[in-house]
């Protein structure tokens, strides 16, 4: 278990360098002018290359960065405040709610772009509110257990709703868009879209970073956290609202992308230890690099786009399995 301050700082700098390298690599990766790699010199010589980098790749990289950082930050917060290393930002009905909102707008109103985004964000929040109010009405178990149960139930309801909408969607016009959205992708990202989520995600991530040491306190049981001067329910709710607002914002432009929010907190804790003072910034850096890497593969590997959600799940699940296999004691994976 790494403990020294200097070691952790070095790891954080290493992760920051990895993120920069990934972003740099993503700028020059793609299918123009030929598959995989574009010479940086082309930026000076070829106006089309410049256009592609400035107007297609950069907003997409920014969106992937925000997506990865948000899911990683929210995942760390969720796992710590729910004392459960197996939860991720999508639970509590946020992801399935957003998926339902997007599907509804596509099928019921033939919506596009901002319409889908708005409907996804509204339904993502509705998922959280439904989970919260249902949890308040459950008459047994602690608050955490009640929220988890309510989240599972609300997610299942929205998931059934998405299934119904898939069933009734026009197979030629609506279904492909719907399926692509549910699988998660950043192919439609433009500067306005990427910038539209910037204020919410930056504000939320800034808040989470400011609360990073406090997060350790809120990971303790209620009685101990309370005895140490915290107001556990209120402070956890503030963190939850920030994490969910940012998650709903990114999911509204990317669709449902799983695994990043689950796997990156584990990786960060493995590298940096459990203290959220360093584990949270570490998770943000890993999440950002991971999402940018997956999205670069998604738009580079094949002439057509591979949905980001598929790649993130494929790579994320593989990393997760590797973490579990090469971990003699499950407790240390926390």
């Amino acid at each position: 278990m790494p403990t020294t301050h200097r070691y952790r700082r070095r790891v954080l700098w290493g992760l920051a360098a990895l993120l920069l390298l990934t972003v740099g690599g993503a700028v020059f990766s793609g299918r123009y002018p030929a598959p995989f790699w574009m010479s940086p010199r082309l930026l000076l010589e070829d106006p089309l290359a410049r256009q592609i980098v400035l107007n297609l790749r950069l907003p997409r990289i920014l969106a992937a960065l925000l997506l990865g950082m948000t899911l990683a930050g929210a995942g760390t917060v969720f796992q710590m405040i729910f004392h459960n290393p197996l939860v991720e930002p999508g639970f509590l009905g946020v992801s399935q709610g957003a998926a339902f909102g997007a599907a509804l707008s596509i099928v019921a109103w033939n919506a596009a772009g901002p319409g889908i985004q708005l409907s996804a964000a509204v339904c993502g929040f509705a998922g959280l509110l439904l989970s919260g109010s249902l949890a308040r009405r459950i008459r047994y178990g602690g608050w955490t257990l009640r929220l988890v149960l309510a989240g599972i139930a609300v997610s299942a309801l929205f998931s059934a709703g998405v299934g119904i909408l898939k069933y009734v969607a026009d197979p030629l016009t609506q279904l492909p868009e719907l399926v692509f959205w549910i699988l998660g992708a950043l192919w439609s990202i433009s500067w306005p879209k990427a910038l539209s989520i910037l204020p919410v995600t930056l504000a939320a991530l800034g808040f989470l970073l400011l609360m990073r040491w406090r997060l350790n306190l809120l990971a303790l049981d209620d009685a101990t956290a309370f005895s140490l001067g915290a107001a556990p329910a209120r402070e956890r709710m503030a963190l939850l609202v920030a994490a969910v607002a940012a998650t709903a914002a990114v999911v509204s432009i990317s669709g449902v992308v799983g695994w990043i929010g689950l796997i990156t907190p584990h990786l960060a804790r493995r590298l940096l230890g459990a203290d959220a003072q360093t584990a949270l910034p570490g998770a943000l850096l890993i999440g950002g690099a991971f999402a940018v890497f997956c999205d670069t593969l998604a738009r580079t590997m094949l002439p057509g786009e591979i949905p980001l959600g598929i790649l993130a799940s494929l790579i994320g699940a593989t990393v997760f399995i590797a973490l579990m296999i090469f971990q003699p004691n499950i407790k240390d994976a926390r």
């Binding site: 101990t224 001067g229 203290d275």
Partner: protein, 260 residues
């Protein structure tokens, strides 16, 4: 540091969803700078009493006074500075190092968004040294034995520097050596001006450590007061519902039941 008294006057408390009140007209005085043991059978309300004093549970009527001031008049952070709790079987779900965990004891002394200062780190290290666990600072808290873990919990509460210390069965599952170490530390804290209140299922432990005893059964106080006045066969028998005999041997109280 002057010790604080705890006063409870006419307190009522009922758990949500339960028809009957657990505490009805409960009144209790815990003298400043004393060590008070709360004894009673399972479900008597011992832990609930600690949680009411801390403010984790809110009385349906009446209030708790800490140092002559209603607990409600203190902010959350002020209560954090005044009252420390070593909970019964505290779950620590993540793999914090011992030092990271003990440092959390400094939370009430820090602003909401602050991170620990070098002085906090020094206090946490002193607390660890005081419980004899300085060499465990870098170890994962999940690898500690029961005894080591209890010492680390005490180090966290020492770093918190409260004036009232609440301990919920602090020596449950500890071997004799660790029990002695924990009790010694509690005695030291009391000598420095802390008022301590602890629950236990061991009457002999209560007699060895406490100046005062509160006997509770079904939310009712059977007897409360100085050890010598309250720790009688009659009171203990009434509290536990079985015959309990108290003997004085060389100035110490020893209890015996029919089987033990």
């Amino acid at each position: 540091m002057s010790p604080l008294a705890i006063s409870i006057a006419d307190l009522h408390f009922r758990y949500d969803g339960r028809a009957a009140a657990l505490f009805d007209n409960l009144s209790l005085e815990i003298p400043p700078g004393s060590v008070t043991a709360v004894l009673g059978p399972n479900g008597a309300g011992k832990s609930t009493l600690l949680h009411l004093i801390l403010g984790l549970l809110t009385p349906t009527q009446g209030d708790v006074q800490l140092g002559g001031r209603p607990r409600r008049s203190y902010s959350r952070r002020e209560v954090g500075k005044l009252v420390g709790l070593v909970a019964q079987e505290e779950a620590i779900p993540f793999n914090f190092t011992v030092q990271e965990y003990v440092l959390l004891g400094r939370a009430p002394h820090l602003d909401l968004l602050a991170t620990p200062r070098p002085t906090d780190l020094a206090i946490a290290r002193q607390a660890l040294a005081r419980v004899g666990a300085a060499d465990m600072a870098g170890r994962s808290i999940q690898t500690l034995s029961g005894g080591e873990r209890q010492l680390v919990l005490l180090a966290r509460v020492i770093a918190q520097a409260p004036r009232i210390l609440l301990l919920d069965e602090p020596t449950a599952h500890l071997d004799l050596g660790n029990k002695e170490r924990v009790l010694g530390l509690v005695r030291e804290m009391v000598a420095e001006g802390v008022t301590a209140l602890f629950t236990t299922h061991e009457p002999d432990l209560a007699a060895a450590l406490a100046d005062a005893v509160v006997l509770v059964r079904d939310g009712k106080i059977i007897a409360a007061g100085a050890l010598n006045a309250v720790f009688t066969s009659e009171n203990l028998s009434q509290t536990y519902g079985i015959p309990v005999h108290v003997y004085q041997v060389e100035g110490r109280h020893i209890t015996l039941t029919a089987s033990f």
